[in-house]
Amino acid sequence: MAQQLDRLKETPSQTAGPYVHIGLTPNICEIHGIYEEDLGTRMVNDKTRGERITVKMRIFDGTGAVIRDALIEIWQADADGLHNSPSEPRGKADPNFTGWGRQASDAETGVFTFETIKPGRVPFLDDRPQAPHISLWIVARGINLGLQTRMYFGDEEKANAEDPVLSRLEHQHRGPTLIAQREGDTYTFDIHLQGEKETVFFDV
């Protein structure tokens, strides 16, 4: 026998279910008057530094149908690559940028829209700069454990090519599933839960 490590086990996940918006974006499902506004709707204000962008995302299931009952949260660095978080050791991030967004999709089109800024670069474990990216967490009915992935930017070819995460993907042809395409100030990012174009998800 040895001493006990006395670790606890993480609380097991359960699906967010079909009514996740009641809890997390109640104003979207017409429950008004409890919260003034849904949390995570506004990431930027007039004073936020950096390049304003719009990110439009969609999620497709294994039959190719767009999902309309999911919820996406995003987390990203500010224009200088700093996070608005007490756990950020490198300095103070832009106080006018939350870095965190939460959205339901449009009920008809399934499009999630985030108004944000393009993030700066965040170092990898060995201090190499990562390409600019946005972290995603996806929950919905039929998803038992929130899905983690990242969105990279299609117009950052050089940074993407040297990114420590993208470049170590064993199946390099899957890399493009993580890259959003730019048109004007809007990036489009389609997420596929299954199939030929299945998005790379992370266990991090």
Partner: protein, 246 residues
């Protein structure tokens, strides 16, 4: 407020076998929504280690009282009054202070205030179904609500959800993000629920069952259920592998 230096270590690897698998055909919705390829792992960078933190200024005075936060003045939601309380801890058994906990649930008849829920049980005009709070310095949280009802759902022809409350919990790092459901001690419906049964290990399921706590019950007012939540723990920065001059 105690001034504790925030920890910046990476998180312990998630024990995925303790969680339900993505593909769990007893819960039919997972069949076309489960990724089929192995997820990719890499060590936590600051994108994973950091996360949003919310101040108490976002909270309204009734955010942690679902009996009143949607009720007309002088009225309250119908159903057995309960207090749900507990502590948010990490895998190292340390309290997780100042984190946002959100919850949502059906009303006492098992009906959600949602246009896609057409269950026969009526809406309660005084019940919205959501609330939130922030843990204190010792990781404690509590809220007042009514006990939700069980409800049928389209999966098999006769599947029912046990009474449950949905929980969303933030940690201090984005990869601690967790959604789960709390069940009630003694409910025989728990063990036949296809969603509960996506979790492979019975001991894991038992950690989702809140205990009736008569000591914390408020006499002549509300019974109490205790539900502790464990988030992923961080490695101590003492062991981080980035050496000076490296």
């Amino acid at each position: 407020m105690r001034n504790v230096k925030p920890e910046t270590g990476g998180f312990f690897q998630r024990v995925r076998s303790w969680h339900p698998p993505a593909f769990a055909p007893g819960y039919k919705s997972t069949v076309v929504r489960s990724p089929q390829r192995a997820p990719i792992s890499f060590g936590n960078t600051l994108s994973e280690i950091t996360g949003p933190v919310f101040g108490r200024e976002i909270l309204g005075p009734l955010d942690n009282d679902l009996t009143l936060n949607y009720a007309k003045p002088g009225e309250s939601a119908i159903g057995p009054r309960i207090i749900v309380y507990g502590q948010v801890l990490d895998e190292r058994a340390r309290p997780v202070p100042n984190v946002l906990v959100e919850f949502w649930q059906a009303n006492a008849g098992g009906r959600y205030r949602h246009k896609k829920d057409g269950y026969l049980a009526p809406l309660d005009p005084n019940f919205g179904g959501c609330g939130r709070t922030i843990t204190d310095e010792d990781g404690n949280y509590s809220f007042l609500t009514i006990q939700p009802g069980a409800y049928p759902w389209p999966n098999g022809i006769n599947d029912w959800r046990p009474a449950h409350i949905h929980f969303s919990i933030f940690g201090h790092g984005f990869v601690q993000r967790l959604i789960t459901q709390m069940y009630f001690e003694g409910d025989p419906m728990i063990w036949q629920c296809p969603i509960v049964r996506t979790i492979p290990d019975k001991r894991a399921i038992e950690t989702l069952v809140a205990a009736l706590d008569m000591e914390a019950t408020v006499p002549m007012d509300a019974r109490a259920y205790k539900f502790d939540i464990v988030l992923r723990g961080r490695r101590s920065t003492m062991f981080e592998n980035k050496l000076e001059g490296n």
